[in-house]
């Protein structure tokens, strides 16, 4: 059982006041806060072990290399992956998906091939494929969304066929909260001889992930959305796949032998980590994985699901408020997007901020989904382990205030 009150003690940032009120941080889908264990891991690294890795003989270099590579192992354990060498560290989910679109896509996708996406993808899982399509002449196809905000599986099924080369789907939507049946879709892709890419930016932080059970070929996520530092992303690839791929970025640390005209590459995963990696942050990400591991991702999920249910209940009593996405909390992650009759999302976010409540307003890097929903923007509250019912109530209070501000003059006069 997660006890947010206890957990909060590990998050120094949450102690502050914002606009005279205690900070209520509900922008976790954008990035989460970091426990002191992660901050301390950074400090410890820079105060005791900092050195460039992989080639050094001196003590600090060996120490830093061991710590860095140990986190690859921890990441594998977190994903229940069998091999640490199948994990490449990138800057973020975005870079991981670009790596796939370039290093795998450029060699395997050709004119007329089809790339299947969905209308609920984040721009990071759209633009790299658009760029690939432009380079290769491949065709993009987008599966639609049901009125309840779920992926239209029949459409996905109908779309995947012999011309499909790759299917790339978000595991959990950062706007609707929808959790997609990626294992099932992966099965469709496999049967069609296509590869399955999963954007796990929102799922790895919030759901127990068993990478082998997902049956996908690539899985990408970001440390900063799961208590880790900024600047670290993860790309996991199915056994053997990285070996078949040409490198993406070229430079130090990814080579075996450099000659004037051509070079040979280091073994995976190093082949894909050119230049000095973000050593300190990868090591600190290890502390984030430990933190989540100690809580247990099952408990994290249970806590956030309960909170989501409570939020949906509280918000449903606010006049003129409409929530997007699946109705049942067990079919969605801890993300609640909504619209209000009277006020624009930006005004809602400003007024919430006036209450110390941090929510996000905008297109959430999902313009195709906004267009599908027929809105320019939504307001979004998203949860993490340190949030509790009080936070939801503070949000609800702020939203009531929105209605008072934007209601007719008479009720406004009363506040």
């Amino acid at each position: 059982m997660i006890n947010p009150r206890e957990i909060r003690k590990d998050f120094p940032i949450l102690e502050q006041q914002v606009n005279g009120r205690p900070l209520v941080y509900l922008d976790n889908a954008a990035t989460t806060q970091k426990p002191r264990q992660v901050i301390e891991a950074l400090v410890r690294y820079y105060e005791t072990s900092n050195a460039n890795i992989h080639r050094g003989i001196h003590t600090l270099a060996v120490r830093a290399t061991e710590q860095y590579e140990a986190v690859r192992g921890k990441t594998a354990v977190f994903l229940k992956a069998s091999h640490a060498e199948d994990i490449v560290f990138t800057r973020n989910t975005t870079e991981a998906l670009n790596l796939v679109a370039r290093a795998w896509g450029d060699a395997n996708v050709h004119e007329g091939d089809e790339i299947v996406l969905t209308l609920m993808e984040h721009h990071s899982n759209i633009v790299p494929w658009q760029q690939l399509a432009r380079r290769t002449g491949a065709v993009l196809r987008y599966a639609g969304i049901t009125p309840e905000g779920k992926l239209d599986l029949d459409e996905v099924r109908g779309m995947i066929g012999p011309r499909t080369k790759v299917v790339s789907v978000v595991h959990m939507s950062n706007v609707l909260g929808t959790i997609n049946p990626v294992a099932e879709i992966g099965e469709m892709a496999r049967k069609a001889g296509a590869l399955m890419v999963v954007d796990g930016a929102q799922s790895a932080p919030h759901l127990p992930v068993d990478i082998e059970a997902l049956g996908c070929d690539f899985f990408a996520f970001s440390a900063h959305k799961m208590l880790g530092p900024t600047g670290v992303g993860v790309l996991w690839a199915r056994r053997g796949l990285l070996e078949t791929m040409e490198p993406f970025l070229g430079g130090g640390d990814m080579i075996a032998l450099v000659r004037q005209d051509e070079s040979t590459w280091a073994d995976v995963p190093h082949k894909f980590e050119a230049g000095t990696p973000n050593i300190a942050d990868v090591i600190a990400f290890g502390a984030a994985l430990d933190y989540l591991g100690n809580l247990g991702m099952g408990a994290v999920r249970a806590h956030e699901m309960a909170l989501t249910a409570y939020a949906m209940e509280q918000l449903s009593s606010i006049e003129g408020l409409k929530m997007h996405g699946p109705e049942r909390a067990d079919e969605r992650g801890g993300v609640v997007s909504f619209a209000m009759n009277l006020a624009h999302p930006h005004d809602i976010a400003t007024i919430a901020d006036g209450h110390g409540v941090a929510i996000r307003a905008g297109h959430h890097c999902a313009q195709l989904l906004m267009r599908h929903l027929g809105v320019a923007a939504t307001s979004r509250a998203s949860f993490s382990i340190y949030n509790d019912k009080d936070d939801i109530e503070a949000l609800a209070e702020a939203l009531e205030h929105v209605n008072r501000v934007f209601g007719d003059g008479s009720s406004r006069a009363a506040i």
């Binding site: 606009n19 400003t350 702020a398 205030h401 501000v405 406004r412």
Partner: protein, 148 residues
């Protein structure tokens, strides 16, 4: 510790909300001499201005678009204040509004209702909302000058 009053109520002054709820001069003009538009790509706010300019005067002006209360009320107040003004006066008002929003200059009565936007200057992230229609206007006036 006592819980502070919610902030930003001074941002949403009644006059702003009134322009947001009951926009003035909203819609297209029949025969605009200039039709200009602007989008804020970060937040999606959109403002279109129709201007009917002649004899160095803004004979008529209207707007449409969508977005937050700040961007829309700013446009509504713009049209109300500038309809019938000389270009010279319009440019002076524009200068004062921009100075208020960008540099935090204290506004004077010449800008009328637009003084209500003073609170926005304190919130850099919302300043661009209030400025949007003024950037559009600037382009419209430039076009008019070039055309003349």
């Amino acid at each position: 510790m006592a819980v502070a009053e919610p902030q930003f109520d001074d941002l949403y002054r009644e006059i702003i909300l009134d322009h947001y709820r009951r926009p003035r001069n909203r819609g297209e003009l029949a025969a605009p001499s200039q039709r200009v538009e602007g989008v804020n790509p970060v937040c999606g706010d959109e403002i279109h201005l129709d201007l009917e300019i002649g004899d160095n005067t803004i004979r008529d002006v209207s707007y449409w678009g969508h977005g937050c209360s700040i961007s829309q009320s700013s446009a509504s107040m713009l049209t109300e204040r500038l309809k019938g003004c000389s270009i010279e006066e319009a440019e002076r008002v524009m200068g004062k509004v921009r100075a208020m929003l960008i540099d935090g200059a204290t506004p004077d009565d010449e800008i009328g209702d637009l003084q209500a936007l003073e609170g926005v200057a304190r919130l850099p992230v919302r300043v661009k909302c209030a400025l949007l229609c003024w950037n559009v206007l600037k382009e419209g006036l430039q076009q008019a000058t070039t055309a003349a």
